[in-house]
Symmetry: C5
Subunit: 95 residues, 5 copies
């Protein structure tokens, strides 16, 4: 998984029927210091994440292992919202 920050969302009405009702969020990659790393991914939200939140996303076939993404043609899913993380003993709280 990677850490990312939700920066926006995508609206698409012409799409594969199985994508109906999924929320597509734009997530920019961040380093473990929460700095922009370059690059982004459009991921399905499975946890109710909002703009500005730091999340964990999974890619590949694993992105289809949540209840909302099962059997759908999606390759990235937000599966957790980060409350805090700890690097070498220094804790960063986000929530």
């Amino acid at each position: 998984m990677k850490l990312g920050r939700v920066i926006g969302s995508v609206v698409a009405t012409r799409k594969d029927p199985s994508l109906e009702s999924l929320t597509l969020l734009i997530v920019e990659n961040v380093t473990s210091a929460l700095e922009r790393e370059g690059g982004y991914v459009v991921a399905v939200d499975s946890v109710g994440a909002g703009v500005g939140e730091v999340v964990l996303y999974a890619t590949g076939s694993s992105a289809r292992l949540t209840a909302v993404t099962k059997d759908r043609p999606v390759d990235a899913v937000i599966m957790a919202i980060v409350d805090s993380f700890d690097i070498d003993g220094r804790v960063t709280r986000l929530a």
Copy 2:
């Protein structure tokens, strides 16, 4: 998924039989500001996308989860045409 812009198409008559009748589009990667990011992918079209349109494409095994790509040896599929997206509250309309 990634955002991309359709820039062209590929014709191939000598190919795996299961690819018969699939449309192969060339999609260049774009940033969330719709600038060229470098790089491209050739993706199967599952939604009737045209040249110039901004689309979402999925890669890997997830690319085989649409009706047209099921069980075929393809690793990228356009599964949505983007109508608009929203970055930090600023909306960009495309359709």
Copy 3:
């Protein structure tokens, strides 16, 4: 999928038994302008491609979805030989 140009082949006699009789081709990545992009892949040939030809190759689990690669430990397959492609209305014929 990506566009590539076949530049050579690999011979390996000590290998997983399931690879017996597969043709392993060296494919260099090319841009949509057919310039070298850097990087290469060794892909199984499923369509009778020859040195110099521009091909489409698929990677990952999708590479096992042709008749010759089914259930084999290979992660890249040439699944089409490109006849022509069209970028923004400009056609390039290869065959």
Copy 4:
């Protein structure tokens, strides 16, 4: 697999229910000389790894092949703690 060094952990209370009780560790990539390579991954711990330890992690669908990650939406798992490694006959002991 890649070699990485565990540098921290992530706490997330809002997450896919199947992630309950999994330990999420931040692993920075290292070269085969144990120098920082740039980049990191958040991986599920399946072997009791601690901060500072050098580990092996697997990504993609293979990350779901341990007992703790089976059927979960995770794309990276620590599946071994490195005791030593040998490069061109020179042994580096870590444990």
Copy 5:
């Protein structure tokens, strides 16, 4: 697949039980001219490769398609030892 050169091995006693008895080799990436390309992978050996040999390795789910890696949490496998390869008609013999 990619070409790589075996440069060493990894010893890990604390690991997922299914990894018992697998040989973990460090493989550095090489170009099709056998120059170091940068980067490496730790791959399971399925063919008896030794240090210094040029090999082909496969990654992702395909790495689990050999007899020794089936159902194991590994994402890279050496599935062939290269005897020779041919680039634009110039043959390089390795064995």
